[in-house]
Amino acid sequence: MIQGRTWIFSNKPSIAASAAVGGPFEAQGPLADDFDLLHGDLWLGQDSYEKAEKKLLEQACERAIDKAGMKKEDIQFFLSGDLMNQIITSSFTARTLSVPYLGLFGACSSSMEGLALGALLVDSGNADRVLVGTSSHNGAAEKQFRYPTEYGSQKPPTAQWTVTGAGAAVITSQEGDLRVTAATVGRVVDMGLSDPFNMGAAMAPAAVDTIEAHFRDLRLSVSEYDLILTGDLGRVGHRIAVDLLDKHGLKLPQDRFGDCGLMIYREDQPVQAGASGCACSACVTYGHVFNRMKRGELRKVLIVATGALLSPISYQQNESIPCVAHAVAIESVGGVGS
């Protein structure tokens, strides 16, 4: 069913299992316990960062399939996206899995783009078991989008740190504790900002647009969700999003509105304005948030993954940064809870 640009999944596709894998910097963060696997080596024993990222995604997928009590042959479709050129991480992981695959690109919004589409496939009866995943690697992303990792350039306080990690989830048509109830597809919003070291400010309007559309389409009150998380707005973008929503007359409760990019690292880790990257929202959601939901601490959450759709060429040609945000609502139907 569709209302405005929000899909309502009446057959309640459920999340059979999910997994999050992280790197050494994530292991020092406050959410370390919520990762299924943490690596001490940024290279993961591989000879390039790109291969290391592929390894991260493979491991996240393996873990998720394993936790769902399935084999990879049981997966009917694999939907995945990442930040690398030609989404090589996703495609190469699909090669390893050798299951029917659809590649996605929504930059850092890929996590929720995948979850929304996976849920749609299951809800519409076109699939029973779908695997969705996404990944990012700090070294690989810096290399592609910015400068060499060891280059001594000074990052401004608005810059963000790309998460090294991967997240994956298995969506099934069978009943489960965690259900995907709705998803709002985002519009591309471009406010003319062109500084790749200030993505939070560029992405905030896209997040605000999608959040407003979600509440408008479903006619929900602001207290509907126990937690609303944006993907990777960071300190700068989160502040702007809060004020912008307030200005538009949608005042979300402060203690229930957060950002994944502000959760994954400690305050004293040198990440400037916070975390970013596809794995940011994926690791926080598929690890931390789902764990909290399973423990009954949260019942309804809305994840709004934000993506900056720039390329290294586009910003060198002084193009502005178009951004998008996709929102997915997940509900826990477990016995515990409030």
């Binding site: 000879d47 390039s48 960062y49 790109e50 290399k143 400068y147 060499p148 990792t149 060891e150 280059y151 001594g152 350039s153 000074q154 990052k155 401004p156 306080p157 608005t158 471009d190 406010m191 003319g192 900002l193 062109s194 200030n198 400010a201 905030a204 309007p205 300190r235 700068v236 502040r239 702007i240 004020d243 912008l244 200005k247 040198p270 304005a273 002084n318």
Partner: protein, 160 residues
Amino acid sequence: MSDKKKKKLTPVQQEYQDFAKQREPERPVLKNCLMAFLFGGSICLVGQLISTFYMHFFGFNEKSAGDPTVATLIFISVLLTGLGVYDHIAQVAGAGTIIPVTGFANAMASAAIEHRSEGYVLGVGGNMFKLAGSVIVFGTVAAFVIGTIKVIIMQVLGGF
């Protein structure tokens, strides 16, 4: 940024950018300048010590000590880059570590390390000058222009 860019913005975009600007942390320019001065100055001091060392112990004179001094600074810079320390120092030091010859060495070494995975020819060789290349190109162009100006002035002055 430039006025040309601003003109292309729609009123909504302009309004948002002003709205966002008020909520963005500024670059700490004063602190950055001070740090750049202290770190840059310290590197020069170390360079002077190395130069004096070569003159004192190896019989170089003030002019000829320049070459081994620069080589030593480059070696230290490349070593720190390889050990993964240089970029952390640079986050604090800013221009202080970019401007001296150490910054140039870091630009080349970091690009070479980064692209090692694509092989020696297309990776290391092809990308080593990715950042340093423009310094060399525009440095040479600038030297040519200044050199030409100098020659012209000398000719004109010499003519009198």
